[in-house]
């Protein structure tokens, strides 16, 4: 092999290594910044947030066009429906809340409805602010979603997406 050929070979090898390292690094960054989800076993407990927080179990996911309140009932707009997620949680002393999104199988996610948007109060609280030792450790999270999405719901996920990791976010699944 001539000296010139060796130089060309060295340049080609260097170029290939640079491309491989850059490609691998970009793929890792992409995987790290793209949220992944993993379904929990039906009815299983999980900690939705990576940075600790509440241990939550999804007890049921009920779709309804009308919500009963202590005043007048709330009716969903035409073509939409309410989804009531009943959750059980382990209270924490610091009063950590449960801000969970409702996730559809196509990746769409809805944030919780503000209880002030309802005409009255519901029986269960819409937050997870109970203290350790309190009798009620249940809460219901209410969502308003398009009716056609109600048949393809995956469960509840963390509302925070800022955490960068290749680890999957747990998706709380209701019991079958």
């Amino acid at each position: 092999m001539t000296a010139r050929a060796r130089q060309w070979l060295l340049a080609a090898v260097t170029f290939a290594v640079v491309v491989a390292v850059t490609g691998g690094w970009l793929a890792y960054l992409n995987a790290r910044s793209t949220p992944h989800h993993q379904q929990t076993a039906p009815g299983a407990q999980a900690v939705p947030d990576f940075d600790g927080g509440l241990t939550v179990r999804l007890l049921s996911l009920v779709v309804t066009p009308t919500l009963v309140t202590d005043k007048e009932p709330a009716h969903a707009p035409a073509g939409a429906a309410y989804v009531v997620a009943l959750v059980d949680y382990e209270p924490q002393a610091d009063g950590t809340g449960c801000w969970l999104h409702l996730l559809a199988v196509d990746g769409r996610r809805w944030s919780m409805l503000d209880p002030l948007e309802l005409p009255g109060r519901r029986e269960l609280p819409s937050n997870c602010s109970a203290s350790p030792g309190d009798a009620t450790t249940r809460a219901e999270l209410i969502y308003l979603i398009p009716e056609q999405a109600t048949g393809a719901l995956a469960g509840l996920v963390s509302s925070g997406l800022a955490h960068r990791s290749t680890e999957a976010y747990p998706v709380l699944t209701p019991p079958q």
Partner: protein, 186 residues
Amino acid sequence: MRGRATQWLLAVVACLAMIGLHAFTGEFPQESVRQVQLGQAARLYGSTITANSWTIGQVLYEDDRFVGRSGVMFLAVNVTVATDSPQELRSEWQVGGTANGHTLAARADLRPPQPGFTRTQDVVFELNPDDLAGFTLTVLDRAPIFAFDPQLNIDLGITAQHAADELERARYATVRAASGSIQVIR
């Protein structure tokens, strides 16, 4: 001589690459601005925004609630936002306006509706009548890090003559702004 020039060239290219990388990754605020016209739909992440119309007046009602009488005037821009994509939910956008080199803030933020819904609402500004001509509505989706955040500049198409005619007609009128209700995208 040639070797030394190559070294300097490499150093300059490396410096420019570092500056470009910092700009891209957010060390410097950057906006990626798109110009659209009144009535023209434009995308901002997973949503579509359309400015439909505008009205002016001196008295403002929001959802039938009296807000006040302005010492100058109110401008209400009717906007429709539809979220029809599964992209990450955005909590709010920075809404403002520019005219005659002035930057104006809207009375309230614009919140994109949740996936599958559309919302039509009014964005209200209080401004000097001289700033009506050439008014441009700006909607900026500011990310936690500044890296080419998308911004829409919506030209309301208000010419000097148009502004003069409208001020003559509706300068002291009542603006009835709506915070809007959501509807399902069919």
